[in-house]
């Protein structure tokens, strides 16, 4: 995995709540057997007109948000289907940070497996950040994961919370499986007990 580095970039604003993973990556794009190439389908049904041209009314199509790495979005982001295609599409499109007041559990977990930092802020703070971007589209924020800082030009920055284990893994770009396999002895021991206790699960 790519280590997550401190960066300054444009924050794109999507003032929508309950954005579900079906919107993030519609099902017609789930038939691929690879992990890559989903970015071009991100938010497909909103982003493109029926004839395949760009929908000029869709937020992310605004030239002021071109190249944004930060996505500022409403409550309960990533609800619905568990598809990891959603964070794959988000990362492939170029976002590495999301800021919202809440996320659906599975989506939140999936972000960390794909070098995406989902920052949680309270609703009041989210509204302030949204106002700041709305008033000055194209504004850039600084995200400093090491120090858990979000810094904005208008001073709406904050220190955000994040699970220390997840933070370390993002910073180092660690692969979860490799970390777990360090505990292989414990897994073997657990499994031995499991076989004794529930032999019928092992036939």
């Amino acid at each position: 995995m790519e280590p997550y580095k401190k960066h300054q970039s444009i924050a794109a604003l999507m003032k929508r709540s309950n954005v579900d993973t079906d919107q993030i990556i519609p099902k017609q794009f789930l038939k691929k057997v690879e992990r890559t190439g989903f970015g071009k389908h991100l938010f497909h049904d909103w982003r493109f007109n029926d004839d395949g041209s760009d929908n000029a009314n869709f937020e992310l199509n605004k030239p002021t948000f071109t190249g944004a790495k930060i996505l500022l979005v409403g409550d309960n982001f990533g609800c619905g289907s568990s598809r990891e295609h959603a964070p794959w599409a988000i990362a492939d499109y170029g976002f590495n940070t999301i800021i919202s007041s809440s996320y659906a559990d599975i989506f939140y977990n999936n972000c960390f497996k794909n070098s995406i930092l989902p920052i949680k802020v309270d609703k009041q703070k989210l509204a302030e950040l949204m106002d700041e971007v709305a008033a000055n589209e194209g504004v850039t924020f600084v995200v400093d994961l090491e120090n858990q800082q979000l810094i904005t030009p208008a001073g709406n920055g904050l220190t955000f919370d994040i699970d220390p284990f997840r933070k370390e893994n993002l910073l180092a770009g660690f692969d979860d499986i490799g970390l777990t396999l360090k505990h292989i002895d414990k897994i073997d021991q657990y499994e031995e007990k499991h076989k004794q206790a529930y032999p019928w699960l092992w036939n």
């Binding site: 579900d20 099902k27 038939k31 619905g80 289907s81 568990s82 990891e84 997840r166 897994i187």
Partner: protein, 465 residues
């Protein structure tokens, strides 16, 4: 210390809790389908890792499979590749796969219980959010992402944060023709799609113990729609009767051992939950969603709301957007909403009990003009059982299509879909924009309500029939 069922299962599955790291929990059963697994197998291959416990996995093909002309080659080349990739991956890793032609095939969450593959007290995962279904058996069952699918295959464990607990206590009794689906939609309407975030829900109370195993599966299936990580129902005699004699259920002495363990899982008297929600089943009426989120729901005697019926700005705006997408006018009677297509099926409501109740409503009727109605059994076993009982004839005589099993219009990946502006009454679980086809408009209902709408051409209060 007094423990809830969730805490008992959690504690007994804790493999290691290293300082500064997420606890690792053991996974007993891993379910699989063709859409969320190929990249996980690819990951294993690249890292030169093996599937640790092939026997813990049961796989099916359900999302992309056609529900008609199953003998013909799959027309969509990309779906075909996904199906073939699944078959290759299962074969090369020695996994038990119920492929498209297998008599055990069907939607993963319908098939797994049919074979007794999930037992009380297990930790069960699947790259699919509706894994929560298996909580009906008192198993901790939840959806995971594809990286986690790979993680479980390689290590049989998952790093997890412990969830909070929520008790959903449902007192009273459902009336005839209100069902588990109506309870599920009522909960989602009450607490919202984010209401259960970070929680595992346990359903209890008289109305829950009265539900059949099928009903409990419907209920737990939609725990995710209320944002919960998982849903749980305590195992009881119904659970044990259902499991007994199935393929993966223990026999003889092992049955007795298992039973003693299962009985010990029930929440201790006096154990504390982080959140408690109480509902009364007597007050639950048949539910119909009017918007594009499962929380946008009301009783069949209700009205489509107006944006200014909501105090909360975000809800008000969501209502306005939903009305526009759904092509509905505020304050329309739910029973005045016309429908074009009826879908009975999915892992929410594609089980035998669902077709029985729908057939009871359908018997001797005709599908309304300009309405198309399709019945898609959740599995070949459901299909067979229904045919033995003559239910297929009831549907066919009434003008329904009787299809082969699969996810079908629940997520419309297999070619079964709504066209732009078409409106469905659907027994599935999600009414998101475009879920059943781009521009399609979905109203979630129970099987009985769907069957009644097929006859009338609009929603009707099933209790008046």
């Amino acid at each position: 210390m007094k423990k809830t069922m969730y805490e008992k299962i959690w504690d007994s599955h804790l493999v290691v809790e290293a300082p500064g790291q997420a606890p690792l929990i053991y996974v007993d059963r891993h379910l699989m389908h063709e859409v969320t697994s190929p990249q996980a197998f690819e990951g294993l291959r690249v890292a030169n890792r093996k599937v640790r416990n092939p026997h813990s996995i049961l796989a099916t093909m359900d999302h992309c499979v056609p529900t008609k002309n199953r003998d013909l080659p799959i027309a969509d080349p990309i779906a075909k590749k996904q199906i073939e990739t699944m078959a290759d991956n299962c074969k090369s890793n020695g996994l038990n796969l119920y492929d498209m032609k297998n008599p055990n095939n069907g939607v993963i969450h319908v098939v797994v219980p049919e074979h007794g593959f999930v037992h009380p007290g297990m930790v069960v995962v699947c790259g699919d959010s509706h894994t929560a279904t298996h909580g009906a058996f008192g198993a901790l069952a939840f959806g995971i992402g594809t990286s986690e699918v790979e993680h479980v295959m390689a290590t049989q464990t998952l790093p997890q944060q412990k969830s909070k607990t929520m008790l959903i206590q449902i007192d009273g009794e459902l009336s005839k023709y209100t069902s588990a689906k109506d309870i599920a939609l009522t909960i989602t309407g009450k607490i919202g799609t984010a209401g259960g975030t970070g929680h595992v829900m346990e359903y209890a109370g008289k109305a829950i113990s009265k539900l059949s195993m099928e009903g409990r599966m419907t209920l737990c299936n939609m725990a995710i729609e209320a944002g919960a990580r998982a849903g749980l129902v305590a195992p009881d005699q119904k659970t044990y009767d259902y499991l007994k004699g199935r393929e993966f259920t223990p026999v003889g002495d092992n049955w007795n051992k298992a039973l003693a363990y299962w009985q010990s899982l029930v929440t201790d008297e006096g154990a504390q939950y982080d959140t408690v929600v109480v509902l009364n089943a007597d007050e639950i009426e048949p539910q119909v969603t009017w918007g594009t989120s499962p929380e946008q729901v009301t009783g069949v005697t209700g009205l489509v709301p107006a944006p200014n019926d909501f105090d909360d700005d975000i809800k008000s705006e969501a209502c306005a957007n939903a009305l526009e997408y759904m092509g509905l006018t505020a304050h329309t009677n739910i029973t005045d909403i016309p429908v074009d297509l009826i879908f009975i099926g999915s892992c929410t409501n594609g089980r035998i009990e669902d077709f029985r109740i729908a057939a009871e409503v359908t018997k001797g009727t005709k599908v309304a003009d300009n309405v198309m109605a399709i019945a898609v059994p959740g599995s070949y076993h459901v299909k067979e059982q229904a045919e033995q009982e003559g239910l297929d004839k009831i549907f066919i005589d009434a003008g329904w299509e009787w299809r082969e099993p699969g996810c079908s219009m629940c997520l419309a990946m297999n070619g079964d879909e709504l066209t732009v502006g078409q409106r469905s009454a659907s027994t599935s679980n999600r009414n998101f924009e475009g879920r059943q086809g781009k521009g399609g408009r979905t109203h979630l209902v129970s099987p009985a309500m769907a069957a009644a709408a097929a006859v009338a051409g609009h929603f009707v209060d099933i209790r008046n029939l």
